[in-house]
């Protein structure tokens, strides 16, 4: 999909794909809401919706083309599972907080899942939202963080480190689980933990997961694939 469209952001899509796909295929029900705060992983969301029969083949093929609804970052209003236009970082957690608060006020069922990136946690608005969701005791909110350790121009440790991340969230009063972000079983176990407030799940992931020459490499935040790289990546992924 990214190869055909000749676009990048593959690394952060592959680090998040396992969690997004598992949420959409095995975790979420009709009353649950997913907010993709790291909008640059839109591809992983589109693929997850396609894999679960919620986006057609033709729609998926239109990714990143002219006249598509599948833009590089999500656009809202065309699909019930893509309700929020994200892409500018630091917005999704506040949106998810509003959705969760509305459910709480109305006594509506369902949980709200919000996926952040670790680099995104450098945005101040994330921490405004963290204060809010803790204070409002939004127990129907699950905050997932794709901790792949890399961002646009280097590693998070080198640029503006928030590590160790778990104590930061705990310091604000939230319950934190830290797991292998590529393990559906670990995610199920973490999501089973329920408290009287929001749950944070730190997904320890590998950027470019599943493609040897991408794994842990910062440049795959942006770069598109050439033909030989695409063929090699496909061979490796077929072997998984």
């Amino acid at each position: 999909m990214h190869y055909e469209a000749k676009v990048g952001h593959i690394g952060g899509n592959l680090s998040a794909l396992d969690a997004i796909l598992h949420l959409h295929s095995s975790v979420m029900g009709d009353a649950d809401i997913f907010v993709l705060s790291k909008g640059h992983s839109a591809g992983a969301l589109y693929v997850s919706l396609w894999a679960t029969g919620q986006i057609s083949d033709d729609a998926l093929r239109s990714f990143h083309g002219n006249g598509t609804a599948l833009a590089g970052h999500p656009i809202a209003g065309w699909h019930k599972r893509i309700a929020y236009a994200t892409g500018s970082l630091g917005h999704g957690l506040g949106l998810a907080a509003g959705v969760a608060l509305g459910k709480q006020l109305r006594g509506d069922p369902g949980r709200v899942f919000c996926l952040l990136s670790d680099g995104e946690c450098q945005e101040g608005s994330i921490w405004e939202a963290v204060i809010f969701v803790h204070h409002r005791k939004l127990a129907n909110l699950v905050v997932l963080v794709d901790v792949n350790g890399l961002q646009g121009f280097g590693s998070t440790r080198d640029i503006a480190s928030l590590e160790p991340l778990a104590p930061k969230f705990r310091g604000f009063g939230l319950t934190v689980e830290e797991i292998d972000g590529h393990s559906p079983e670990a995610l199920d176990a973490a999501l089973a933990k329920r408290g009287d407030g929001p749950l944070v799940v730190l997904l320890r992931t590998v950027k470019g997961r599943g493609v040897s020459f991408m794994e842990g490499r910062m440049e795959w935040h942006y770069l598109p694939l050439n033909e030989s790289q695409y063929q090699l990546a496909m061979r490796e992924l077929m072997e998984i």
């Binding site: 809202a76 236009a85 917005h91 949106l95 907080a97 509003g98 509305g102 006020l105 939202a129 204060i131």
Partner: protein, 308 residues
């Protein structure tokens, strides 16, 4: 106008399920609303970016959310949140900014809002309402509540002249007949100016209209107003807002597109802080030529030129 707004929201909350959020402002004003709304009155703390985004999230679940702060903190600090989270999604979020223009006076420039609706009118789906009098607030709140679009309400201090019989609210109202052009006023500055203009004979003063809804729509402007501009060839506009993106520019643009081009166009608008010194709202109006005395002087000069 803040008390009128509070009363209007108390009434609204009794007939419609809404959410109200404040960025920790409204002490000694919004307590009746807090008492009326219970857990639907939310003090979001000093975190305006999050407040606006949360409001958008609430609206995505079907709630109508009213978000209150001092004007610059509700349109400036969370600008991207308004643009992306509210306006791009066309969510039902109402922003309420208290102290439009130089309303917070000597509190300083950080508390002023002299470019608010110029900035907001450029956003998708945004509607702006600028009441001129406290009496306008309740009908405007009703209209805002009936709409499902984003909106901004700019509150100020009511300056309605004593014993003035205000005609019932309309987005465009003729408040004073006159023959020497048309004067369109946006905002509470209308009060003092009306009082001053009544001292001038009808034949020598412009006809005064007060408009509250931005951006202007040609079809909303009464034909009498357009005809008067054509007939007299004179248009004056006053607002407590910078020229760029202001009501004067909007109106001039619309009229030009419509083929209405008055020979005289004078725009009274805020310019900023010419002296670098601060004072009351009246001080800043005078410095920017927005006070009644300055406006009357300009009108007198214009009238003198016409008779020479």
């Amino acid at each position: 106008m803040r008390n009128a707004f509070c009363s209007a929201l108390v009434s609204l909350s009794a007939r419609k399920q809404i959410v109200f959020m404040t960025g920790d402002l409204g002490f000694m004003a919004l307590e009746p609303l807090q008492a009326a709304m219970g857990d639907r009155f939310i003090n979001a703390g000093v975190a305006e970016q999050n407040m606006v985004t949360v409001a958008a999230g609430l609206a995505s679940g079907g709630e109508q959310c009213w978000v209150y702060s001092i004007a610059p903190f509700v349109y400036g600090r969370p600008f991207e949140q308004i643009r992306n989270d509210v306006c791009l999604h066309n969510f039902d979020v109402k922003l309420i900014g208290n102290g439009g223009g130089y309303g917070y006076g000597v509190m300083g420039a950080t508390h002023h809002a002299i470019e608010d609706y110029g900035v907001l009118c450029g956003l998708q789906n945004m509607h702006v309402h600028v009441p001129a009098f406290a009496d306008d607030v309740e009908p405007i709140v009703r209209r805002m509540a009936a709409s499902r679009h984003p909106a901004y309400l700019r509150l100020g201090r009511c300056e309605k002249p004593k014993n003035w019989m205000l005609p019932s609210y309309a987005p465009w109202r003729l408040l004073l007949p006159g023959s020497a052009g048309v004067f369109v006023i946006v905002g509470p500055g209308a009060g003092g100016l009306l009082e001053a203009l009544t001292q001038i004979a009808e034949a020598e003063r412009p006809e005064v209209w007060v408009a509250t809804d931005l951006p202007f729509q040609m079809e909303a402007i009464p034909s009498r107003c357009i005809e008067k501009i054509r007939e007299t060839g004179s248009l004056f506009v006053l607002e407590e807002h910078v020229a760029h993106g202001g009501a004067g520019q909007m109106l001039a643009h619309l009229l030009l597109e419509e083929g209405v081009h008055p020979g005289r166009f004078r725009h009274f608008h805020a310019e900023g802080y010419r002296s670098g010194l601060y004072g009351s709202q009246a001080f800043h109006r005078a410095e920017n030529g927005l006070d009644p005395a300055s406006v009357l002087a300009v009108l007198a000069e214009a009238g003198h030129r016409d008779t020479v």
